[in-house]
């Protein structure tokens, strides 16, 4: 049974993942049906892509020359200690008197890859920095709406890029919501976006990814065994020291998972960078997309292969690390939660004030753009209006059958979401089971199984199109084609199962293997032991993975649009894009609908799923 499931998973991956990506990536290494590495040489030695490294790639043996260049660069660095440091944040207009070591480096040409990695690294740092306090609060304090808030942390994940971009402009623009509020108290207006586009792009990345970091970390935090902390305290560790020595090591794998995912996602970022930062901040993915548009599949595939190698390499490094982190305790007794605001006096303590401050900042960053979006859908030049919603209603009631209607979009999204969950959860669990106890070969399989995260969405999309929608000619005049609703679900499941695996694997590796063996000795087959023993014990990971799978499905766009060859199979994000015209209101209204439906779904998933958590 388990073997059958594994076989089915392998078949799905072969058809819906390896075939389409292979179809495109083969362009990178085959030219006129002759294997070649020339495209790689071209890209690696192009300073536009690799900046200063291009020279090194071009002539790797001229070590003396490269060292000379490096020495010249090092000699040009000047270090100064100043008292004035201006935080590189757009909204800090005043100079902070912070002693700061200024390092002046002569400009280094980063190239497209260098800049992409640079902004991804900054985005990762920002996402972790913003996500961790949220995890701390959610894991350690009890307050009204905590569970709901925790459910909603996944929400940003499903939003189409265009919605987030428009939301950010509506919140942080010069006439946006934040400036309107600042204006109310006599401040501003502040050009948040203009003064530092990179910072805004990074914030937008944090908008997507900080909740991810928070969600994964909260789960780990809640499974810290309080007895270990108490033991450390009894051995003389201060509260802070016990936190550092006992809690932090148990959080690190989770934080690193979040950081890794964030880095990979932001490395392959596309719409957000160009929408908020502009072409000046272009990333590799932008060029992949452009090459595909220009039908230059060779260069697109070459860039994509390099991108994928980088992502998979990081993933492998991380998984090696993760597999070394064995023996995390099962949540025998999770830490108790403190009331956030028990009384007025406590509210004024420094820690509570810091939490309040963070809450305010989070409100601005996370709720602000979404709320501004909703407001935008309800206003026009003359104030409050319902015409955008009237458009949706009218389209629903009076629209022609060939037009895109809101309800089928909602229905399809929910149906595909549930179906994705049903397919992706078994796939993800099977891969977890196969890899968790398989040593180093397991790590390699696990890494390959993470491929959907590491392959450029643009490449995957074009691969689906070329490999599956157009079909592949087989000998004898047969044609292999895959389209339609089932294909959409499977494509979503392929994109989603890595989240199930990443949520389940760490928990599964903590399950005492003796339990499975006990069950087997008692007569249970391997599959039965999985169902009866392991799955109930990793239920919280499965629920978390299921929520992600649902979210991925709801938010997925590029392969949906390619596979939805029947106009009946469109989803909410597809509807948003179809309504996007010169008048943006209808699309924003549809986006608001997407927001509400998804938020409601997550609350339900977490509530229902919560019953199965131990």
């Amino acid at each position: 049974m388990l073997a059958l499931l594994a076989l089915a998973t392998a078949a799905v991956l072969a058809v819906m993942l390896y075939l389409p990506t292979g179809v495109v990536l083969v362009n990178a290494v085959v030219e006129d049906s002759i294997p070649t590495l020339a495209p790689f040489v071209d890209v690696l030695t192009d300073p536009f892509y690799f900046g200063v490294l291009a020279d090194v790639f071009a002539d790797p043996l001229a070590i003396g020359e490269h060292l000379h260049a490096l020495a010249g660069w090092l000699a040009a660095i000047s270090i100064s200690v100043g008292l004035e440091y201006r935080l590189p944040l757009p909204f800090v207009q005043f100079e902070l008197p912070i002693p700061w070591v200024g390092v002046e480096t002569p400009g280094v040409r980063q190239g497209l890859f260098g800049f992409t990695a640079y902004q991804a690294a900054l985005s990762t740092i920002a996402s972790v920095a913003i996500g961790l306090p949220a995890a701390y609060i959610l894991a350690n304090y009890e307050f009204y709406g905590r569970r709901t808030l925790r459910s909603l942390t996944i929400l940003p994940f499903v939003l189409p890029g265009i919605m987030v971009a428009v939301g950010f402009y509506a919140m942080f623009g010069r006439s946006g919501t934040l400036n309107t509020i600042l204006g109310g108290v006599g401040l501003g207006p502040v050009a948040f976006v203009e003064s530092n586009p990179l910072a805004i792009v990074i914030l937008a990345h944090a908008f997507y990814n900080a909740p991810l970091v928070a969600r994964i970390t909260v789960a780990a935090w809640e499974s810290v065994d309080i007895r270990a902390v108490e033991t450390a305290r009894s051995l003389g560790a201060s509260e802070r020291r016990a936190f550092r020595d006992v809690v932090v090591p148990q959080l690190v794998p989770a934080v690193l998972t979040g950081a890794l995912l964030t880095f990979i996602f932001t490395f392959m970022t596309f719409p957000i960078v160009l929408a908020l930062g502009g072409l000046q901040l272009a990333t590799v993915e932008v060029w992949i997309y452009d090459r595909i548009q220009r039908l230059d599949y060779t260069e697109a595939a070459t860039l994509a292969v390099l991108e994928t190698i980088l992502s998979l390499g990081l993933t492998y490094a991380y998984l090696r690390y993760e597999s070394a982190q064995t023996g995390l305790s099962q949540a025998a007794s999770p830490p108790p939660k403190e009331a956030l605001f028990p009384d007025l006096q406590t509210v004024l303590s420094p820690r509570r004030l810091a939490i309040l401050g963070y809450g305010l900042a989070a409100l601005i960053l996370f709720v602000g753009p979404l709320a501004s979006l909703v407001v935008g859908s309800l206003t026009d030049g003359s104030g409050f209006t319902l015409r955008n919603y009237a458009f949706l209603l009218e389209r629903q009631l009076e629209g022609e059958s060939f037009q895109t209607q809101p309800w089928p979009a909602i229905r399809n999204s929910l149906l595909f979401g549930v179906a994705t969950l049903v397919v992706a959860v078994p796939m993800g669990v099977v891969i977890s089971v196969l890899t968790v106890r398989a040593g180093r070969s397991g790590t390699i399989i696990d890494t390959l199984a993470m491929l959907p995260l590491a392959v450029s969405g643009v490449v995957f999309g074009i691969g689906l199109l070329q490999g599956l929608v157009f079909g592949i000619s087989l000998p004898g005049g047969w044609q292999f084609q895959v389209t339609g609703a089932v294909a959409i679900v499977v494509a979503h499941a392929v994109a989603a199962y890595p989240f199930v695996t990443r949520n389940v694997s760490p928990l599964l590796s903590n399950v005492d293997p003796a339990m499975v063996e006990s069950a087997r000795a008692l007569g249970a087959s391997r599959f039965r032991a999985l169902l009866d023993v392991e799955l109930p014990l990793v239920a919280s990971g499965i629920v978390a993975g299921a929520a992600f799978a649902f979210a991925i499905s709801i938010g997925e766009f590029s392969s949906t649009v390619i596979l939805a060859s029947g106009s009946e199979s469109y989803t909410m994000p597809v509807a948003v894009e179809r309504y996007l015209g010169r008048r943006t209101g209808p699309a924003i209204a549809m986006g608001t609908l997407l927001l509400c439906v998804t938020a409601a779904s997550f609350v339900v998933i977490d509530r229902v799923g919560g019953r199965y958590e131990l």
Binding site: R440, P513, E517, S518, R520, L522
Partner: protein, 362 residues
């Protein structure tokens, strides 16, 4: 009831293949070399040895969690090659109890009854009640495992393993996590249950005292091989090897050169000073021997083979004291009724009290 036989069982791990097993971490997954043993029907058989000796691997091979690289495991003559654990009809109890935390005590005990019908026409509930009674846990069925003490949890694990009336009971260090007093009482309980049920039992432990106390027969393992198989008192009294002599019980082992042999007794020179001692049972053609004398055989009142021991530590054990020291640069352990006064202590042993472990000519 079942006779278990291992014939020429070897287990090798490839360079890449690693196995993380229940009792042992990855590094300790131990290869087996040519293990032969037979466990008789209804026998309580123990595999004993230090950590890493292969005893757990042997047990896991019997249970079907590992397949031997070569050799066969047979139950009553039926080869078990390729038979998965769930079809072997064995009951297994682990050191970590491995109770299913999401199931109640009764659900744990009844789990195996989903796959094998309860014996003798009992209903599942009756069988569970019977087993809980057997392990003195009447009325605990509704509890969660986490609410029980370690000893109680281990008894639930035992009840769970026994519920389907397996042909073979396999216990992997089941008591190591318990405190000494509890261990003793549980050991007695286990003995009672085992003989009551007359079930063929293989017990793995690193504790030689436990092995001696509980087993019908035992096998001492070392580096993946069996050093000796026998009844506890035979293994204790007549160890086949230096390893067994030193591992099973306290012992005093020394090497010597045979300087004279009168056909019955040999005169042997021991240690730096070549002190002469007289031993019985030395082969007549032996030139070098290793022999051991149990601490209890070294007595103050014995005048033969007098040794003067430099005392280092004295442990008070209640009825006796245990003294560690050196004689003639041979480490010596004594068991005396009274703690010695002074820094040295003279003891002697009878030539027949020594057991020759090994001998060689030249």
């Amino acid at each position: 009831m079942t006779e278990l036989r291992l014939a020429g069982v070897s287990k090798r791990y490839g360079d890449t293949e690693t196995s993380t097993t229940a009792g042992e971490s990855e590094a300790e997954a131990i290869a087996l070399q040519n293990v032969d043993l037979t466990v008789n029907d209804g026998e309580f058989f123990t595999l004993v040895g230090p950590s890493g000796c292969g005893k757990t691997t042997t047990l896991r091979t019997i249970a079907g969690f590992e397949e031997p690289t070569t050799g066969t495991v047979t139950f009553d003559g039926d080869p078990m090659t390729g038979v998965p654990p769930e079809d072997r009809d064995v009951g297994v109890v682990f050191q970590s109890y491995a109770l299913f935390p999401h199931l109640s005590v009764a659900e744990n005990v009844s789990y195996g009854l989903k796959f094998r019908a309860p014996p003798a026409g009992l209903t599942v509930d009756e069988r569970v009640r019977e087993l809980l009674e057997l392990v003195d846990l009447e009325g605990m069925g509704e509890r969660d495992p986490a609410q029980l003490s370690g000893g109680q949890q281990q008894r639930v694990a035992l009840a769970r393993a026994l519920a389907p009336a397996p042909e073979l009971l396999l216990l992997d260090e089941p008591m190591s996590a318990l405190d000494a007093r509890l261990r003793e009482s549980l050991r007695r309980q286990l003995s009672r249950i085992q003989s009551e049920l007359d079930i063929t039992t293989v017990y793995v432990t690193h504790d030689q005292a436990e092995a001696l106390a509980i087993s019908d027969r035992l096998a001492v393992m070392h580096d993946g091989e069996i050093e000796q198989i026998g009844r506890p008192k035979d293994v204790y009294r007549e160890p086949d090897s230096r390893f067994v002599a030193e591992f099973v019980g306290d012992n005093n082992v020394f090497d010597g050169r045979v300087v004279d042999h009168d056909g019955e007794r040999a005169t042997v020179a021991v240690g730096e000073t070549q002190t002469r001692v007289t031993l019985a049972g030395v082969p007549t053609d032996a030139t070098h021997i290793a022999a051991c004398v149990r601490p209890g055989a070294l007595r103050r009142e014995t005048t033969q083979n007098q040794l003067t021991v430099d005392i280092e530590t004295t442990e008070f054990l209640g009825e006796r004291v245990r003294v560690h020291g050196h004689w003639n640069s041979v480490p010596i352990v004594l068991r005396l009724a009274e703690p010695p006064s002074g820094e040295t202590c003279s003891v002697g042993f009878e030539p027949e009290a020594a057991h020759v472990i090994s001998s060689s000519e030249t």
